[in-house]
Symmetry: C2
């Protein structure tokens, strides 16, 4: 029936979409895309709207019906779930559905007792026109329906059809032609492996892997090595981490080397900061002689993989004054009027041990290629994950190019952005391809702060472009609230990081040992920071090892904790009790009334010093629980079981016992209730 | 200094923008464009950001500096004010400002007592490079500044310059090349004449212009004519309206003609609905013989113009069964299986007196051209404004085409969209080019409803695409709250419509006479509606004439009431007192701290039956008033003067006296205060 008249439908405001489609939406395999759009036409005709999506490397499009989720605002929604990695595409496609319009109008006339013979003839004619082409089986069905309509039988107008017998409405819609549809622009969805969104990181300094007392020195006898990291893998594996991340392992500059506690003068045995990269022994593709060799890196990568752990290296694209590039490629640096190379500074502060690379050099292209070579060098050594130091001080276009080039070779390589800066800059790096990003979690302490921030990063539009990684501390940051704080405070921060966010990390072993000594310089820094000296940790003392390994095991077992996107916050009349739940994404439809699967409910006591209690105010709908019947909660941390009923269970948490509950929530089917004698 | 390295700056999220730039932003001459954008780069360099705009038919771009309005979120803002009609263009353009970066870093080093000789040499070199090209005067200034810097004098780094002597910073910025800038996409701004946004409409039925008792008949002796409308222009002019709008003036169909009160049978003398267009005498380009001739329309347009009034006709693109097109162009209509033409319906309701045009006809192009011919026919007769009946039942693409074609010939033609439907559809019509739109004001009655709706339509993004017109009633709508309501209720609705919205209209003379009789059919319809019969109004009785003419005069005199966009709502602890103010747009900068000009403060008593009083809670900043000193308010409605001080003046309003205050707010300069004996 198309007549060539211009399309009557508007399709607009499609979500998800990142920067109007300039960058892909991010998902991992199995994580659904809940698409929505504003779709409407003139007049009062019915519309037929589908979510049309295309997996990578396929030519065809798969259509999923969309439904009016907010008819008053003309919003339509639909879901598809990518099952393979790569760039998926989707668009919203809509037609005027003349058959349904006629059918619904006829139904209203019938209800009013009006003569509808003319309408039935119209409908019959529409179907007969379709029956002149297409598959024979369909033509038969169409002809049969048309005959019934001609005979005055309106049944086919609201026939729902059956799996083996499509309805007239369904057959009509099947014949709608793409050329006659209105369509949104195509949105790209970058679908990555699950670890892109779900990961537990453990950071350690290889030179600090010799255990024992507090010796500080860089003599070989007391300096840990990459082999020492291999020995530490059992420990890390017991803790349940899946990525082990090493700060830079390269030769360290001598010029302006920093001493302990960031002293401007280093003693002869002071090891210097690993981020002052490069010396006579080499630069970004060399290994510090005291740590080992490139072969040791390869051995470590293999050993880690055998423990189910991936190896992450640091990409700190800057040089010490002793880096080979300083003499080989002076054109990659900025020069001062006296011919010397410009060191890093944040006026009036000077960082003379660091030469930034000059990304505005006219030799920028050679520089970019050299930096790509660095990444590929370590990929060749078995490295699959990179933590990128200060990416926000290098151009966005560079990262977009680098990550695209790396992913062309191996789409599974993960990049973590260490940019603690303004939100737009952090998000732009994520849009440019960074897989994960450090966050403000480190400084979100109170319940309202945590709720606001966790909800922000777990929902669209943030969650479509930016995957958070929650870190309680880093070598640079001992936040105020952990300075001189008890081990219980570290336990709280660990539990929050590991359950609020699907990706998190700890900087060990200081973290699990509760290293809480501030530098005392009025900043959020550690005393005797490993950045400037070798530390020998005593792993035998009080530690969060047990909690960490339990929580990581729970994370692995509970699929609800594999995502950040289903976070739901519940009320509790106590400012120290933070209550939230997550579920899995199961189900083909984003219908909020659909049952929520595999719920995990967390109740965290934010107060590391005092017991806190409350009658919670649970949203049982979000947990898929019928409030009229009891439900079972199993604390996976303490292995305690409770039976609750209603919205207001009583919870009391003692810091000395556990920082919170991680509760598997389930409700027996009605037939299996205890009163049947079965539970 | 550019090296060809990829641009480091991101420019995103530019506002205003309609549907990502698909449609132009709307403004009128003199109405500023407050543009903002998210602009940032990697690293810590200073940025130089300008709002670059281009008037119609000009090749060059004018740059206005933008400033960081929210540095934490990297938002920048700037303003330009279009002074001529037509399509203006703007974009946000940004550079890394290396000179300012160096200057600010050097200032911080100086403050810390550091040696900055190297920095001064760097700055000198930058200026010397610029001095090798460009205007001689600039080269001299640059060379002189460089010499001072080389001599160790840092003054030029933070020199603000002077009107006749640009600073080094300014000269550096002047030399930044477009080719090295990051730029947003270009946004189009359609700038129309002031009446597009500021207008007072008066609707009347020409056939009801014979005054006197309640005679209902269509015999020539008692039927008003277009000449009668000319006679009525003095009345309309006294009321202060600037657009007089006539429902369809065309021949009316006989077939299925509706009788009084929408009766399905019409008597022989019943005149029928003017919206059942077309009869043996002609169609959309004919005039009903009882009303007059096309020449009468021309005479009316001229006479109106002499009274400062524009003539608006109704565009109702539908036909009676007797319209010439039904036989001349049956292909423009949809046909039923029995060959008859499909009448309008909203099942189970039938409108057999109306044949909709079929915009899905294969002859759509001829149909579109015929409808354009109709519009151009009436433009030739002097019509400059069209009120479009039910535009939402015709395709958006048609309206976009039609309005564009009309505006190619005369960009000043105004189209008012009569679409009372879902908000997305109403806004899409506005995006497609409708100048003004009917709104939900008709049904917004309570204070919270009015506040929410008025703020919505007065601010971005709505106000960038959709210009509201507030109507208390229409021939189709006597809202519940005005049914059987006193004249004071009509007064309240008039005052609200005329002061909340820059454009409004009344359907007279029933409105000013307080015609409040409902049809009694459970709908929001008038009894004895003029749609179906001739009414003879008695203009001598109680009327809102005085209020209407006063308010329209105040609207014309007070420039703050010429815009809907500066609306500011003030608090008042009384749910029946609605308090709001407007100001003019003066000032080059959208700085909220800039003084607000020409404030008009309205206090409206929403209760037409009882006096209401309160101590208001005024936002004096929005009124540009210093709270520490008295200020003067002049009630332009009652011509009373008051002197107030502080945020909480007492206001008491009696419906029998006036529906509200319309207050000109002013404050004498400090030196002219009463205690100086001058006031």
């Amino acid at each position: 029936m198309p007549t060539g008249a211009p399309n009557r439908i508007v399709v607009a405001a499609v979500t998800p979409s990142v920067d109007g489609g300039r960058y892909p939406v991010k998902r991992v395999v199995g994580e659904p895309v809940d698409a929505s759009a504003t779709v409407f036409a003139d007049g009062h005709d019915e519309l037929w709207v589908v979510l049309s999506h295309q997996p990578p490397d396929e030519k065809g499009w798969v259509d999923v019906p969309m439904r009016a989720t907010n008819p008053g605002l003309d919003r339509w929604g639909g879901r598809f779930t990518p099952r393979v990695r790569g760039i998926h595409r989707f668009k919203v496609v809509a037609w005027v559905d003349h058959f349904s319009s006629l059918a619904h109008g006829t139904a209203r006339k019938l209800a009013a007792g009006q003569d509808v013979r003319s309408e039935l003839l119209q409908a019959a004619t529409m179907l007969e026109t379709l029956a002149t082409s297409g598959p024979r089986r369909e033509a038969e069905l169409l002809t049969a329906a048309a005959s019934r309509l001609r005979a005055g039988d309106p049944t086919d107008l609201d026939d729902p059809g059956a799996p083996d017998r499509p309805s007239a409405t369904e057959l009509y819609r099947r014949r709608l032609r793409r050329a006659d549809a209105a369509s949104s622009r195509v949105v790209e969805v970058l679908v990555e492996r699950e670890r892109a969104a779900f990961s537990a990181w453990y950071e350690l300094f290889p030179r600090s892997t010799v255990t024992g007392g507090g010796v500080r020195s860089s003599t070989p006898a007391t300096t840990g090595t990459l082999r020492g990291v291999i020995d530490r893998l059992d420990y890390v594996g017991d803790l349940g981490f899946d990525i082990v991340y090493l700060p830079p392992i390269h030769p360290i500059g001598r010029s302006f080397r920093k001493g302990p506690n960031n002293a401007t003068q280093a003693g002869p045995d002071d090891p210097g900061s690993p981020w002052a990269i490069g010396g006579p022994e080499g630069g970004h593709t060399a290994v510090h002689p005291q740590l080992g060799t490139v072969d040791d890196v390869k051995a470590l990568a293999v050993a880690a993989q055998e423990n189910g752990i991936e190896l992450a290296l640091d990409l700190a694209f800057q040089c010490s004054p002793d880096h080979p590039w300083v003499t080989e490629h002076p054109e990659w640096f900025r020069h001062r009027p006296d011919g010397s190379i410009q060191y890093a500074e944040n006026p009036p502060k000077k960082y003379q041990d660091i030469y930034p690379l000059d990304f505005e050099t006219s030799a920028w292209h050679e520089l970019w290629e050299a930096l790509l070579d660095v990444v590929e060098f370590w990929m060749d050594a078995g490295v699959t994950v990179f933590r990128v130091d200060n990416p926000h001080t290098k151009p966005f276009a560079f990262w977009e190019w680098l990550i695209e080039r790396v992913h062309r070779r191996d789409p599974d390589v993960i990049f973590l952005s260490e940019a603690f800066t303004r939100p737009e800059v952090m998000h732009q790096l994520a849009r440019c391809g960074f897989t994960q990003s450090y966050t403000y979690f480190t400084w979100r302490v109170s319940k309202p702060e945590l709720v606001e921030y966790a909800l922000e990063v777990s929902t669209s539009p943030s969650a479509d472009e930016f995957r958070p990684s929650f870190w309680p501390t880093t070598p640079d940051i001992l936040p105020w609230h952990l300075q001189d704080a008890p081990l219980e405070a570290f336990a709280v921060r660990h539990l929050l990081a590991a359950t609020l966010s699907a990706s998190y990390g700890v900087y060990g072993p200081g973290f699990e040992l509760g290293d809480n000594r501030p530098a005392g310089n009025g900043k959020e820094e550690f005393a005797d920071s490993e950045k400037y000296e070798v530390r020998h940790w005593d792993l035998t003392g009080p530690s969060l090892r047990d909690q960490i390994s339990r929580v990581n095991r729970i994370r692995n077992e509970q699929l609800a904790l594999h995502t950040t996107r289903t976070l739901h916050v519940h009320d509790a009349p106590n400012d120290q009790l933070l209550v939230y739940s997550k579920t899995t994404h199961d189900g083909p439809d984003p219908d909020p009334a659909a049952p929520h699967r595999n719920p995990v409910l967390c109740v965290v006591n934010l107060d590391p010093r005092s017991a806190q209690a409350a009658l919670l105010d649970l949203d049982l709908v979000a947990l898929g629980v019928d409030p009229s019947r009891p439900y079972q909660v199993h604390d996976l941390l303490s292995d305690q079981h409770y039976t609750w009923q209603g919205h207001h269970p009583y919870v009391e948490l003692h810091p000395s016992e556990q920082p919170g509950h991680v509760l598997r929530v389930s409700q027996l089917p009605e037939a299996l209730l205890p009163h049947d004698g079965l539970a």
